[in-house]
């Protein structure tokens, strides 16, 4: 029994140990970056952070903001919501950042929200699509300090469904979504509702899990169900495999997806031929000739020797937006920055001209990208109706 006393002492010791953290006064502007750099969704985090780093590098190369350099404190949340909260508190309490970027996934972002709200620090996620991230579902009120630069699930799925029915003339669709991913599930639910509301039929719907590589059994099922279009709201790596396996099985119907498709690796994995007759909704196209997009793609390629995917673009936009607001207000007061962020209007982002609505969601045009012989071709641009 007595050893418990020792334990108690050690607990005390530990408390005093973590009590002595270093306090440093800095003449830099500190931005907290809390992303998934390891663990199952490390790809999203790493690509987003590449974009963030590029944006900060550009600002610093141009002399910083008001003579101060921008310093990003980048920490890994291991793709774990609890760890994300831990990282957020570290950034806020110990690094004393004035703004918080990330995390990538909605689950982790939701876990961070109370911490930034308590500390009154603005937070922007580049890819947390769950509507609850910026709006408290219990009260229906917008969370004052939380913003996102990506779409929420509904607009993309609504536009996608309309495109499937009207432009591609598909009445019978199958949906194949990532059951372990709330982004994917969110799109699936809205898409299904939209299709059914417009008089279409969902002939088959299936979830896969993040570890899956073998999709033939389910695709065989879709084939038997007579689907005229397959909606795959997932990330490019799975999408590429799904489409190439489907084409091998002789499923020639169009495939439709969302911004998670956007990566040069989509073509590298699936091959150009398999991707013909596939479409996805996106904020932008890396083949877009708008100057912001072209410059960004060029700079990104120069820095990392690869083409940016949508995570990188959103990360870049997120950081650029924040830094622009800081520069504009000339203030390092988180409250001032928060208020200015909420008032953002027509910010020229790579992923489309950005205006925040009352729910802190961006209003952007949605582009429909068609894959033609391995190249992304802008099929049409649609402004979401809601």
């Amino acid at each position: 029994m007595k050893r418990i006393m020792l334990i108690a002492f050690i607990a005390l010791l530990a408390v005093s140990l973590i009590g002595c953290s270093s306090e440093e006064t800095s003449d830099t502007i500190k931005i907290g970056v809390n992303y998934e750099l390891s663990g199952p969704v490390a790809t999203y985090g790493n690509n987003t952070v590449d974009g963030i780093k590029l944006a900060i590098q550009e600002v610093n190369d141009a002399g910083g903001i008001n003579g101060k350099m921008v310093e990003a404190v980048i920490l890994d949340n291991k793709s774990d919501p609890a760890e994300a909260l831990s990282v957020a508190t570290k950034l806020i309490a110990e690094e004393q950042v004035i703004a918080h970027l990330g995390p990538a996934t909605s689950g982790a972002a939701l876990n961070v929200v109370p911490a930034v709200t308590d500390a009154k620090i603005p937070m922007i996620s580049g890819s947390a699509t769950n509507p609850d991230v910026t709006v408290d579902p219990a009260t229906g009120e917008t969370r004052e300090y939380v913003f996102r630069t990506c779409f929420t699930d509904p607009p993309q799925a609504i536009v996608g469904a309309a495109f499937a029915m009207d432009n591609l003339g598909a009445k019978k669709v199958a949906i194949y979504y990532d059951n372990t991913n709330d982004y994917s599930k969110g799109l699936y639910q809205v898409f299904k509702a939209e299709i059914e509301a417009a008089g279409g039929v969902v002939v088959a719907e299936e979830g896969f899990s993040a570890d899956d590589q073998e999709f033939r059994p389910t695709l065989t099922k879709f084939k038997d169900a007579g689907a005229e279009l397959v909606y795959v709201p997932a990330y490019y790596e799975k999408v590429a495999k799904i489409i190439s396996q489907a084409r091998e099985l002789g499923i020639d119907v169009p495939f439709l997806g969302a911004d998670g498709w956007d990566s040069p690796d989509l073509v590298a994995i699936a091959g150009a031929a398999a991707l013909n007759n596939t479409y996805f909704t996106n904020h932008y196209s890396s083949s877009d000739d708008a100057p912001e997009v072209a410059d960004f793609v060029k700079a990104f390629q120069a820095a990392y020797d690869k083409t940016p995917d949508s995570f990188a673009a959103l990360g870049y936009d997120t950081a650029k937006l924040l830094l622009a607001v800081i520069a504009e207000t000339g203030s390092e007061d988180p409250q001032v920055i928060t208020d200015a962020l909420a008032a953002t209007k027509d910010f020229p982002a790579v992923t489309g001209t950005l205006t925040f609505d009352e729910f802190h969601n961006p209003i952007k045009e949605i582009a429909i990208i068609e894959m033609v012989d391995g190249a992304q071709v802008l099929n049409t641009k649609i402004a979401p109706s809601n």
Partner: protein, 294 residues
Amino acid sequence: METLIAQILNGLSLGSIYALIALGYTMVYGIIQLINFAHGEILMIGAYVGYFSVAVLGLNIYMALLLSMFVSSLVGVLIERIAYKPLRKSGRLSVLITAIGMSLLLQNGGLIVFGTDFVPFPQVIERIPYRLFGGRFVVTSHQILIFAVSILMMLLLQYIVGYTKIGMAMRAVSYDKEAASLMGINVDNVISFTFVIGSSLGAVAGVLLGLYYQTIHPLMGFMPGLKAFVAAVLGGIGVIPGAMLGGFLLGIIEALVSGYWSTTYKDPVVFVVLIVILIVKPTGLLGKNTSEKV
């Protein structure tokens, strides 16, 4: 009926991959009764070596395979010599925990060295779908390749273990290490040789997995490795044809669960099957009964 056959074909192709990985597990387990948790990671290393040989060194696929088998064997033997060998006399628990540690180390080391992105694997062998019976069933060139390789490997292993001198030494070591060493068998070398074979098999599986599923990733070995182990247990661990049988069965079970129920129940079902097998026939379908010495 047609769908059923199509699904069984789907299952067979997945199953040949499990079988190929399971052979490696079974080899090592058969000789030193160790679940080499790091086998999946050796597979991953094999896949990356294959990738670099093709994409960076510009070697052809056969040279890439050889190089990847060589490097994987080296890693396998190193792991055995550094981490497992010193523990040969300590309890099972220690070795098992070390194996888990190795697996974690290689996974996380891989994430740091190779990055967290999925790397597209160069499609050096063309994917040709063959449509049978007017397109009702589809078999691709890759599926045939993997199926053939796994059968070939099984036969080769059977031959090595059953009809060669080193195979006899391996069997002797698996029965009784001490007696084997008294008979003049160099036990260390035999165990190393086992790891060479197991790891080479892992490398082949890794490269084929890369070719077949088009990407590689530092964590690519873990889940298939685990499933393959389940397959090995299902068929009777330590029994070479058992690994094969278990692999095919597991693949077919997964395909049928995905096809007739839901993909998301596939993994739970696989593990339920494992637990049931362990309870009903712990030695697996083709396994032999052994009892503990007192």
